[in-house]
Symmetry: C2
């Protein structure tokens, strides 16, 4: 599997494998009083997705950490999840070590590297060879299985399978829609506003545009953006705005979207991308898949190779030297 498009289209298969990987992993027998999810970039978005998925179900607080140091509240009752696809992310290795010193139960997820060496049996092993940003199925699904084994949430297998079936049936149509969206975005600054509980999704679309299409982008979410950036005006003329939303929203959110759309349309183009699926999880995965395709297609339209990330590689090299 070499071509980026094949990697992206493998997402549903990743989710299926993710279920298997999660089931094989032996969960610790312990009650936790809080969860910290640590990670950066394409790995770090895992924590944001989990927070959105679990917000209405999880009975303990979840804290997202994306830096070298860990928050002071971590102790022996903390479940510390260290996410690093490569297993070598400097910030995450350091934070995991700090968490271990504070006696937290640290569980890693990676394709190898130093994290695997550090945590051994406590690291969930996932296949290597993917760019981290296109390994979301491998990164998120095993953790959902882990959380359900820990009785923190209900099993999510049905929802994952719903997503897999959804893509199987609509693959061509989604790709066509992503092509049309990418064509319209070309030459503009893509701006993504997601509705409530899809906060991680608009961030994910932004970073996919950054890394795959090498384009500057921006993201925020409803209703928060109604309290600040809605009042901006100048600068919007450079943007192309996409609302990322559920198929059905509550009436008050539907009205917010309508009026916000009217205001923004007086400055620039605004389109809506609606999720599909019954469960929240299937809808989120559907939009992640759609976003990856859109960013890929935008790269192709602009004659850019979506796979390499030269600026990030250059920075890493300079920081080591």
């Amino acid at each position: 599997m070499e071509k980026m498009i094949e990697i992206i289209e493998f997402f549903p298969e990743q989710c299926k494998e993710g279920l298997r990987i999660g089931k094989k992993f032996k969960a610790p027998k312990k009650k936790f009083s809080n969860i910290v999810v640590q990670g950066m970039g394409g790995s770090g978005v895992t924590g944001l997705i989990l927070r959105d998925v679990l917000k209405e179900e999880l009975k303990i607080p979840i804290f997202i950490n994306s830096t070298y140091s860990v928050p002071a509240f971590i102790d022996k009752n903390t479940l510390f999840i260290a996410v690093s696809y490569s297993g070598n992310t400097e910030e995450t290795i350091n934070a995991a070590k700090e968490a271990l010193k504070k006696k937290a139960i640290v569980i890693g997820i990676s394709s190898g590297g130093k994290l695997k060496q550090l945590l051994k049996k406590n690291c969930i092993s996932i296949p290597s060879g993917f760019p981290p940003r296109e390994a979301t199925g491998y990164l998120v699904v095993p953790l959902l299985v882990l959380f359900s084994k820990l009785k923190l949430i209900k099993p999510k297998e049905k929802e994952v399978n719903e997503f897999i079936e959804l893509i199987k049936k609509n693959k061509e149509e989604i790709s066509d829609k992503a092509w049309r969206l990418a064509e319209r975005m070309d030459g503009r600054i893509p701006v993504f506003y997601a509705t409530d509980s899809f906060q991680s999704i608009s961030f994910k679309w932004m970073t996919q545009i950054n890394e795959n299409a090498k384009n500057f982008a921006h993201s925020s979410f409803f209703p928060e953006m109604n309290h600040n950036e809605l009042n901006a005006k100048d600068g919007f003329e450079y943007t192309y705005i996409v609302f990322l939303r559920k198929e059905k929203e509550l009436p008050e959110i539907e009205k917010r979207l309508k009026v916000t759309g009217e205001i923004l349309r007086s400055y620039t183009d605004v389109v809506e991308v609606k999720a599909r699926g019954n469960s929240l999880l299937a809808q989120m995965f559907y939009l992640i898949y759609f976003g990856s395709l859109t960013s890929h297609h935008l790269a192709i339209i602009r004659n850019i190779d979506p796979l390499p990330v030269p600026a990030i590689d250059y920075l890493k090299k300079r920081l080591k030297g």
Copy 2:
């Protein structure tokens, strides 16, 4: 006090009053297992600032909530802080009611409105008449006093006074610098990248530009932006990039800033704004003050009234109708 510049320059005085207001408020006698800070827009940023200030000190998790509904983990051991400057923010009123139903201890902070009616003695009263985004001193400082009364953190009076002195001594110089920065930003999309633990500050600068200068803007933070948006290229030509940083950074962060700056300078202009002060809190408040001035000056340069927020007012009217 009518002119926006007078309101902004009143920030140190607000902090002084904030100390008094906090001291007068009677803290509940209880041990909490977690904190949720609820708020939207100019009020909501209070939670982000508190999270940054307290991360290395607070021994219980803090969760920021900015929507209608509350996370499932809230229970009788939760300290739920409802922040609404007007006291009438729909999302925050609703979330506070949900938190009360779940038996959380709910403490509000507002200048009146429905929140005050709902929470009565459990609402910290602050002066009215300010735009919420320029009431940061009133919103943050009393909560710092409350947290120290609850023995969750050490007193922060010294740090607040350090900030007040800092502005007294350097008022003219900061305003001059803000003028020069605003002039250079004019006509561009301002982009703010803060160093670690100043995450709330880059968000605050962005939203001040949105609301005061009515300009689209973007924000992120180090080291996270090194893992995704650094790889963007096209689109940066429309931006003007500002690094918001501590006076002294760790050597590894200093190197990150240097190399990241080199990469970004090949696309657009990049400048640094350095915080001043010894304590983290004084540095943060210094940058908030500097950012408010910059957004104000940008509005004046562009012949825009910084005070009203017509698009937000229009949306609120339409949502009520």
